[in-house]
Subunit: 176 residues, 2 copies
Amino acid sequence: MKNTVYIISGPAGVGKSTTSQRLVQQLNKSAYISGDDVSHIPVNGRGMPWLDQDTLDLTWNNISSLTKNLLDYEYNVVIDYVAFPNEVKWLSQQLRNREVRIVYVVLMVDKETIKFRDRLRPEGEQMGERSLILLEEFDNDTELMDKNKLYTHQYRVEQLSEIIEEILKNDKYLFS
Amino acid sequence: MKNTVYIISGPAGVGKSTTSQRLVQQLNKSAYISGDDVSHIPVNGRGMPWLDQDTLDLTWNNISSLTKNLLDYEYNVVIDYVAFPNEVKWLSQQLRNREVRIVYVVLMVDKETIKFRDRLRPEGEQMGERSLILLEEFDNDTELMDKNKLYTHQYRVEQLSEIIEEILKNDKYLFS
């Protein structure tokens, strides 16, 4: 049976981590890659991934290598990271010789919700303007298809299981 | 100039993380790989790395892939993990086509110190018997050369910088 790589994307503060971690728990033989954690492996001499192309490329190379190894060991993989369509396309190229389904979900919310959720974070972890800039980048990305967007502001936390069901069952999120 | 991969090993509770994190801060363009973090990427369906060979192999494959990528981007790499000589040999084989120095340091302490330090950890993170078993495994490993051992029970925390100097300056820790 084909294994699946789930890419859970979207702007900061949209609920990527919560959604990804719940998703990984629902899957058999599953692994969780936090893109943020991977981007923090370089310590001295790295740039901010969103400002420095080299650091961003290294992060994606690391995510790709980990994903390949995990697929070799027959894991389903959940990647939790700000991933734009061109990056997902690059990753799918890296995996082109493998029997694998790639599911790409961009969690989206409206501006007010994202501002509200960001203020709930611990002070050092608040994204501020960065969240809104990312939201606009996703909104304006002409390669991003509507079918890959999942609007969550109508969901409440208690309905997380419905979001997970949607990601697991709805084939429209398959990346192609 | 050749970059360096530092493997900071030793039983649980010996100070690998503290030492590794200080070391990575002292190096230019440096990256930190926590073997424990890497071993936790698989979530459902993994075994304990010390009981399940597949899980341990996957962890080392992931560490190796990350290290190769980081070397491609010209980082020095600090690996913080319980690493035995046969594992270091395997990793050095994976890196054989590269210009790289491999420094292998096994931090060691006596039994009383390791028991004492383990009790200082938060309850959920205490290793108990596991620390002592690992200490004996390192003591009894016939492939482990004395030159790669660094006894730290005579050092106090304030002397961490001396340990770092020792690791950086003393060529006897080079793996060969």
